[in-house]
């Protein structure tokens, strides 16, 4: 074999294990559940192979599924907006502060390393009937009896914001860092107030970062089922909980496949729109 041919083959040898893994453990399984979603699970628990539209009909027309899907999107949207409102100023502060930038960033990265389940359950210690807030309010004499503040939609959103906020701050920070601060000075010297310089120069330039953070918050938020179980009430199920129910509890795998694909389609459309207008590079900057 010639040296050139060997050189050309080399990268493929290096890539093949990872590509095989992605193909066999992600791409083919995804295609498989598309096929599977047209099968039928009979009452005896065996699958009937074929082309049945029953699962899709149920998933797409049942009001129960539709309501929960809409509710999931609503919760994800509120979470994303709250993350943006809380995260943007913080990211701005980190990007524009002088010395301690690294420490601030490191502190922000810490929650990434702290277990998701621990961070989620930590809110029970704060908001539970014998949690920090109730204890404080009672000792101040503001309330006589502990109030149940947990297990509702607000606490689900709270838990999600707590989980997703670092993604937002990091993405906004990355894009703010990339903006030449001279631009703001130039705007100022041309007579813009600081607020004008911010809203007309810095903010528009940092929108790609805000969008990347928003996409991450939305997609990760809409796909969760642990937070609603831990911090939500019985009526706060999100769409991923339905998938879990269908697959693990009811063992109706064809229906579970259809529901998973529905979730993938809805969130996939968002990723595609994002990719069309902003490209994946921005997202990768924030993740790497």
């Amino acid at each position: 074999m010639s040296v050139e041919a060997r050189e050309a083959r080399q990268p493929w040898i290096l890539l093949s294990p990872a590509l095989t893994a992605v193909l066999m453990l992600l791409i083919v399984p995804l295609i498989f559940i598309v096929v599977y979603s047209f099968w039928l699970r009979s009452a005896t628990g065996t699958d009937t192979v074929g082309f049945y539209l029953d699962n899709w009909q149920k998933a797409l027309t049942d009001r129960f599924y539709r309501d929960i899907l809409l509710n999931t999107l609503k919760i994800a949207a509120i979470t994303t907006i709250v993350c943006g409102l809380m995260g943007y100023p913080a990211a701005y502060f980190i990007a524009r502060s002088k010395g301690n930038k690294l420490v601030l960033l490191l502190l922000l990265m810490l929650p990434f390393w702290i277990s998701y389940i621990i961070r989620t359950m930590s809110w029970i210690n704060i908001l539970g009937t014998s949690g920090a807030l109730n204890t404080l309010l009672m000792s101040l004499g503001i309330i006589g009896e502990p109030i149940q503040m947990l297990y509702n939609e607000t606490t689900v959103i709270l838990g999600l914001v707590h989980f997703l906020l670092p993604f937002m701050v990091l993405n906004v920070y990355v894009s703010l860092e990339g903006i030449d601060t001279n631009l703001e000075s130039a705007a100022n010297s041309l007579g813009a107030t600081r607020w004008q310089a911010f809203t007309q120069v810095t903010l528009p330039l940092s929108l790609p970062g805000l969008a990347a953070g928003g996409l991450l918050c939305f997609v990760l938020g809409a796909g969760t089922y642990i937070t609603p179980i831990v911090l939500g009430g019985p009526r706060d199920a999100m769409f991923a909980n339905l998938v879990y129910e269908a697959i693990i509890t009811q063992l109706n795998w064809p229906l579970g496949s259809a529901l998973s694909l529905m979730l993938l389609a809805v969130l996939g459309v968002l990723v595609l729109i994002y990719n069309r207008y902003l490209g994946m590079a921005q997202l990768m900057k924030g993740l790497g």
């Binding site: 290096l14 992600l26 995804l30 498989f32 100023p89 913080a90 701005y92 359950m121 670092p166 790497g288």
Partner: protein, 267 residues
């Protein structure tokens, strides 16, 4: 900076402080309560005690969960890092046709919602007669951590200059010698960072794990999740504190090692 001192800037600073408090207070309360002597996992604090850590160390279910999580995390890190480093080398070092598509494919596992990934893998492997098992769990963790390893390793690899390798080659080193004596040592910080990332993500994963784990097998997160079904016990807080120490301590340690290695190799 010129802005310091202005009212707007003061507001931004105060806001940021609140955001950091929001992030850290709940976690701090977990740590605080884990030292509470009271037999309920809640306020008020009745005294300082290590008893919940002692009880934790005698709880067989939790110890088993720790063992499972650590073995799973180590195997995941080993496999994922090997695959990830090889793929990153190909992407950074060679001009591969269609490299954009390949990169997208390789990071696809994090673009797909984890629940969907979990369902697809479970159902497909079950179809291939691979039932819920440790193997399924391991495969799931590998595919889920692989994109993170590739992103981290690729970012670091770019900064290693090829000059050194070319110098070694021109001085008569074989490609194999060059790789093991020059490239690999230079890559070590990237490899370690990737492995650490994979381990931590695997150790923390619950979304996919609940789908893939066989009955009776628990990892630390699923064990905590199961314990939460009853009520929050002081043991959970103690376990949380141990987890926090592990997951925060490990990366810091890794960072220190990486820094030491990179200063030693002079890059």
């Amino acid at each position: 900076m010129r802005e310091s001192g202005s009212l707007g800037w003061a507001l931004v600073r105060a806001w940021t402080l609140l955001v950091y408090m929001f992030m850290f207070l709940p976690v701090a309360v977990v740590v605080l309560l884990s030292f509470n002597a009271s037999q309920f996992g809640s306020f008020p604090m009745t005294g300082f005690s290590f008893r919940w850590f002692v009880e934790l160390s005698q709880n067989d279910a939790i110890l088993r969960a720790f063992r499972t999580s650590i073995v799973l995390g180590l195997l995941t890190a080993a496999i994922s890092t090997t695959l990830g480093v090889l793929a990153s080398l190909a992407l950074v070092r060679y001009r591969v046709p269609g490299s954009n598509l390949i990169s997208t494919l390789l990071i696809a596992p994090i673009l797909v919602p984890e629940v969907v990934l979990a369902v697809a893998l479970l159902l497909f492997l079950n179809f291939l007669q691979i039932n819920k098992s440790f193997t399924l769990l391991l495969l799931g963790h590998v595919i889920f951590t692989l994109p993170f390893v590739i992103l981290v390793v690729q970012a670091r690899l770019v900064s290693i200059k090829r000059d050194v390798e070319e110098a070694a080659m021109s001085l008569g080193a074989s490609p194999r010698q060059t790789f093991f004596q020059i490239t690999l040592p230079l890559m070590m910080p990237a490899v370690l960072a990737g492995a650490l990332f994979a381990f931590t993500i695997s150790f923390d994963d619950i979304t996919g794990t609940l789908f893939w784990k066989p009955g009776g097998v628990e990892t630390v997160p699923t064990q905590i999740f199961a314990m939460l079904r009853n009520s929050i016990s002081p043991e959970i807080n103690a376990l949380g504190t141990v987890m926090i120490l592990m997951t925060v301590g490990l990366p810091l340690l890794g960072l220190a090692i990486a820094r030491k290695l990179s200063t030693k190799s002079g890059t």
